[in-house]
């Protein structure tokens, strides 16, 4: 059985200063890396003789408009090792001016649609993706709706004031 401590130590040994911000929210090992190291890290964890973290559970994005400009967008990877029943969450922060991150679809076939969804909703561009087009929204849309600057309700409507609905 793997534990958070040993995996974190191994990753630090391999990637050094490129991994930081280790956390354990609800027991799940969470770490942050740079976009240069994310693909090597996914490959390293997958091919590691002991870890064998070879299942990509999920890729998604988060928008934090209130933080520093360099960490405004976040791409979150959830990985799972079936052999050791060990999960790990990897985060990569991006700036809005430079929303590029290499694609993981060479490592995991499932990353293809997950990345398309993230692109669709956040506008994060996955370099080298074979078919980076919108997947759930229509092609003609010219914005990325899950960004926080787009409110859910139509801001021009006056009959839907937030205060009236207890919000």
């Amino acid at each position: 059985m793997l534990n958070n401590q040993s995996v974190a130590e191994e990753i630090v040994k391999k990637f050094g200063d490129d991994v930081y911000d280790f956390e354990e929210p609800f027991g799940l090992l969470t770490l942050t890396t740079t976009r240069e190291q994310i693909i090597p890290m996914l490959e390293y964890l997958k091919n590691h003789s002991e870890f064998k973290i070879g299942f990509l559970t999920d890729i998604t994005g988060v928008h934090f408009p209130d933080t520093t400009p360099a960490t405004e967008y976040c791409v979150v990877y959830h990985l799972h090792s079936f052999i050791h029943n060990f999960r790990v969450r990897i985060k990569v922060f991006l700036a809005e001016a430079d929303l590029h991150i290499p694609t993981a679809s060479e490592v995991y076939a499932s990353a293809n649609w997950m990345e398309r969804e993230t692109f669709d909703f956040f506008g994060i561009i996955f370099d080298g993706h074979p078919n980076l087009v919108r997947i759930l929204n229509m092609e003609e849309m010219d914005y990325h709706p899950m960004r926080r600057e787009y409110p859910l309700e139509d801001a021009t409507r006056e009959d839907k004031i937030d205060a009236l609905f207890g919000r």
Binding site: F26, F55, T57, D58, T60, F82, Y108, A109, I135, G166
Partner: protein, 410 residues
């Protein structure tokens, strides 16, 4: 294509520097968006060489309802209704998964009795899901009879839901901290009735299909996927188990006291349509056994946690006690803030690992909520699974994959 090329093809000699030549002119065929055999609204653009599929691409997003965006403006209770509508064949599993995610964030301990009732409801939902999938797979291969036999029992399960919460399809029997109601006598009677009347019908259903020559010809070796590819494509649930990987969230990361129950994980070998059918069928038997165990060992005690600030108080209490009235008001109006945190919680849905990734910034709504929808992730393997086969094979492949449009688009 010229005659000379046909002669070359027929003689079996390959000319390397020539592009691949096809016997017929290629046809583009739209399978869907609305077609009885696509089970929902998704379009498959297939490129056909005669009767053979040589390439495919899917378009999804026809019913995209922006659940993740809506969830950012809703208190935790109101998100339950969004999860209902994802995999609508087994909505209790989605509901309970969501409630368990919130409980994890809030740190609410759920009493054993509530956990057992949840297990019963989730397993009933899984049976209903598998009944729909396997029944319709029969219809797609031309056997309407099996569907008629077995579909009645999905109705019986819906009656149990109705007894529990009054709703049939969009269930809301769960609450953060437990269940809305305890199992009533009538509900227990209905579940026991189901447990005695369903197995003979399921046996009959199996007799109709399992060794049926036509059914086997239509499904064995059709739409196969190797374990390695299935893993790479992010398959979970019965589709992954049919390929031979015994991954089940209920066993690997037990939630809601699944560790108390004894059951097997059925696995297949080839990952083809027949294996998926058999795995689902076997899972129904396992679910029946889990429900039996849960009913037999049902613990005594309350069916909700001692967490008045999160658990919606019973209506009778609201009329009588001031505290209950205050909490009722605060919960209904979404006045209660959640702690700051980041949770990932997974449950074994009808189709596989249904995950909830929740980031809370301390407000009363999630800062970000992402659903890991198993359908969405594995449906991209569909073209690869039906390349080289015919349209009729593609149809059964799709129905055995159990792609649910609500879960695909969210």
């Amino acid at each position: 294509m010229t005659e000379a090329n046909i002669a070359k093809k027929n003689s079996g000699t390959l000319v390397k520097d020539e592009p691949i030549q096809y016997v017929n002119e290629l046809t583009t065929l739209n399978l869907g968006p609305t077609h009885p055999a696509t089970h929902g609204i998704f379009q498959n653009v297939l490129t056909m060489d005669g009767e053979k599929i040589i390439a495919g691409e899917q378009t999804v997003g026809y019913i995209h309802r922006a659940f993740e965006k809506i969830a950012e403006r809703r208190p935790f209770y109101q998100i339950t209704t969004l999860t209902d509508r994802m995999n609508y064949c087994s909505s209790p599993i989605n509901n309970m998964g969501w409630h368990m995610t919130v409980e994890k964030l809030l740190g609410v301990e759920v009493p054993k009795r509530a956990q057992y009732i949840r297990v019963i409801m989730m397993e009933l939902a899984r049976i209903a899901d598998h009944i729909v999938c396997n029944g319709i797979l029969g219809v797609d291969t031309g056997a309407f009879t099996g569907f008629l036999y077995i579909y009645e029992y999905r109705e019986k399960i819906y009656e149990i839901y109705e007894e529990m919460c009054g709703a049939r399809l969009t269930t809301n029997m769960g609450r953060v901290g437990g269940m809305e109601r305890d199992l009533s006598k009538e509900a227990i009677r209905k579940i026991n009735d189901f447990l005695t009347t369903f197995p003979p019908i399921l046996k009959e259903f199996e007799r109709l299909f399992n060794r049926n020559r036509i059914f086997m010809d239509r499904t064995i070796g059709v739409g196969g996927i190797s374990a390695e590819r299935a893993m790479s494509y992010g398959f979970t649930g019965p589709n992954l188990r049919a390929a031979g990987v015994d991954y089940d969230v209920r066993v690997m990361n037990p939630y809601s006291s699944y560790e108390d129950f004894k059951f097997d994980i059925p696995v297949g070998q080839h990952g083809d349509t027949y294996d998926r059918f058999m795995v689902r069928n076997e899972e129904i038997w396992q679910s029946l056994s889990i429900i039996e165990q849960a009913l037999k060992n049902l613990p005594e005690g309350p069916h909700f946690a001692d967490a008045p600030e999160y658990y919606l108080p019973p209506k009778q209490e609201v009329y009588r006690s001031m505290e209950a009235l205050i909490y009722h008001f605060k919960i209904v109006m979404g006045e209660i803030d959640a702690p700051v945190g980041e949770v990932y919680h997974a449950v074994e849905g009808g189709n596989g690992e249904l995950g909830f990734y929740l980031i809370s910034d301390g407000g009363r709504t999630p800062y970000r909520l992402h659903f890991r929808r198993p359908c969405f992730i594995y449906y991209q393997a569909y073209p690869e699974m039906c390349v080289g086969s015919t349209i009729s094979d593609a149809i059964v492949t799709m129905s055995s994959l159990n792609v649910i449009a609500g879960e695909l688009d969210a």
